[in-house]
Amino acid sequence: MRILLKGGRVLDPATGLDQVADLLINNSQIEAIGANLPETDVDRVVRLNPNLWVTPGLVDIHVHFREPGQVHKETLATGAKAAVAGGFTSVCLMPNTQPTIDDLPSLEYLNLLARQQRPVNLYPVAAITKNIAGETLTEFGILQAHGAVAFTDDGHGLANSVRMRRALELVRPLGVPIICHAEDPNLSCDGCMNEGLTATLLGLPGIPNEAESVMIARDIQLVRRTGGRVHFTHVSCKESVDLIRQAKAEGLPVTMDVTPHHLTLTDRAVADMGYDTNLKMNPPLRSEADRQALIAALQDGTIDAIATDHAPHTPDDKSVTFDVAPCGVIGLETALGVILTHFYQTGLLSPLEIIRRMSTEPARLMQLPAGTLAVGAAADVTVIDPSADWLVMPELFESKSRNCPFNGHMLKGKATMVFASGQCLLGADRMQPSDPASAPLLTSPMPA
């Protein structure tokens, strides 16, 4: 099957390409990119408006798909559908499932389940410590050999400094990162939102910025000592960004991502929305000064990647008081729209820089075969309409959960077609056969 995407604005941050061109997919690979590619021997021709972007499939290195163990919140199948609906073709699965992905049997079971979601690429991340309890280290070498692309105790900070040191020493020769959820549990204590005036007015216990930044300071020093790679995930505040910027300038192997919600919302939203538990996550939404620091860091390149921390919880889980509600929000189906609305439409970031942070860089950080439109690369391709206006209605989401902090927001920009390994998973109805009488229509191979 050869599919020709004709006339779109082709964006490939890996090569710096940004021009109107044709892109030819041959089965699972990209065969060619160029002007006026011939339409002969092509099964499908998709004629694109030159305002539509043709980009490498988006990559999210931080998602929770809740399987195994909590399939009422999400499954690999519904998570994969949500990913595709948002323009993503590759995601990294956090290991805090039930059971935790912390040994070979649990990892192999997850691999078995994940293979069924192909051509969407689900990459497992394994735990740093057994049961994410912060004590016994997992078998990094064995787990990496069986597909773990990184290690993390996400959801909890690794409080024990010597465990962190040993983990970094052990992953260094493997070349994979420790994904660090930076949190000092003593400083965050019983907090459930950002510490500050809003929390005080709402009568909710606060989490200070330092609950995050002191651990980032510690881990940077351990990176300097050990040479192990650390990737700081869902970084939320100014102090943290400043430390990471400094560490990068020093040449240390540290990288970071931020979430769309930390880039666009602040703790004020908790007051404005009357204690809406869909605004509760960890780390919490921070102050406007922190948000501005994140935006500056995104622009100056300190922030390597945007990741959603897609964390599904059912309405029942969230329909409790704010203090006891579980942390986390879903993000796969809104990430692109939110980033385009707040960073492309406002001129803060160029299209190429946005796709770099949402595809090329995250793929590079986790060493995934994704994030580029190079000839011969896997045909993971997303077509984006940057001027499509749409209203966020979580009840229409592919995700099993509805805990979306952008409920009711008007966004501009969304994915309109998604190909994974050359298979059209989104927007198949827009495919025009070059010869209407020829081969059967492409349909989504996603299981129901």
Partner: protein, 345 residues
């Protein structure tokens, strides 16, 4: 006091819920006080009951232990002839994280007109109001550290009885002493008193002052003397024993040494006519010396409790009146009194 804007004339109460003190306008507060004065007169009669809320159902849902607030709301409802019942949820049986949906269904199924909620979780009243809309009136009787509007209002009402004249609390120095961070009473008083023009000062151990307190409408102090100097009124807050256990203060002795309000300190720093208040329950000789608490010349603690009933009658009357569309209901006009056609019914 020169008001920035004139009240809507005639002022009409439209609020179905009383959930947070910060959003109460000066006019709403004055309406509550005026209504409470009418009920204080009724409470002084030999027969205290009026038929105003006959046929209305008021449910007290107390998820936290409370003596004075619960009984105060219960009496307020009974004096107004409402059917009041206590949806007793003992602290031991409360399962943390009960679904708000379930709580809502329970309330609606009981045909409740007004619900009085005391809960350990900040924000529960706002969340329920969001789910219920105007189908039931919600009165916040204390939610977490967030707010306790009827307490702030009864404190203001009590202060005004001792601050006669046109200006009331305006310009008066009122010092709130103790655990500001974990106190819904402090928050409620800061909002209500500052709305009415009082000069509010707070003081306590640095660990018990909340983040951003300097941005609240009050002056922050770290030394008791600075807060008490020339104060017209001193309000002590209850110090919880667990603050010591969680490391927020080294010991009760240390607290007493620096923050206890006692006669020597009062005489040394405050204005001669100063009064003392405490929302209760009191730790005698910890935040407040026992002799001061019992001194009828100084202490307004007993009046606070008595005034609580009148304030809560006013709140029930106003929110249920808004619900019943008071202009068409003669029962509501009867008590209002000042309306020209009040006795036509």
């Amino acid at each position: 006091m020169a008001a920035a804007t004139a009240p809507p004339v005639p002022f009409t109460w439209t609020r179905h819920h009383v959930i947070d003190s910060a959003s109460l306008s000066r006019y709403e507060i004055e309406e509550i006080l005026k209504t409470a004065r009418t009920f204080s007169e009724i409470l002084a009669r030999p027969v205290k009951k009026v038929p105003t809320l006959r046929g209305k159902v008021v449910v007290n849902m107390f998820y936290e232990n409370s003596t004075r607030t619960r009984t105060s709301f219960e009496l307020a409802g009974k004096y107004l002839s409402a059917d009041t019942l206590n949806f007793g949820v003992s602290t031991s049986s409360v399962k943390k994280g009960e679904s708000l949906q379930d709580t809502m269904e329970t309330l609606l199924a009981m045909g409740t007109d007004a619900v009085v909620i005391r809960h350990g979780s900040s924000g529960i009243c706002q969340q329920l109001a969001h789910l219920l809309g105007n189908r039931v009136c919600i009165l916040n009787a204390g939610d977490g550290y967030h707010d306790h509007p009827s307490q702030g209002l009864l404190d203001l009402y009590t202060m005004l009885q001792h601050m006669p004249g046109e200006t009331g609390v305006a310009g008066k120095k009122i010092a709130i002493v103790g655990d500001i961070a974990h106190s819904r009473v402090a928050r409620s008083n800061i909002h209500v008193l500052s709305t009415m023009g009082a000069d509010v000062h707070v003081v306590g151990p640095a660990t018990l002052l909340p983040a951003g307190v300097e941005q609240l409408p009050c002056t922050v102090h770290y030394r008791l003397e600075d807060a008490l100097r020339d104060a017209d009124l001193v309000m002590c807050l209850r110090i919880q024993l667990e603050r010591q256990k969680t490391g927020l203060m080294p010991s009760m002795d240390e607290y007493i040494r620096f923050f206890q309000v006692n006669r020597e300190r009062l005489n040394a720093w405050c204005r001669p006519e100063v009064h003392i208040m405490h929302p209760g329950p009191m730790n005698r000789n910890i935040e407040l010396s026992s002799d001061l608490a019992d001194d009828p010349q100084r202490s307004l603690i007993v009046q606070q409790v008595a005034n609580g009933v009148a304030i809560r009658m006013a709140l029930l009357y106003l929110v249920l009146g808004a619900q019943a569309n008071d202009s068409s209901d003669p029962l509501f006009q009867e008590v209002k009194g000042e309306r020209p056609h009040a006795h036509s019914a």
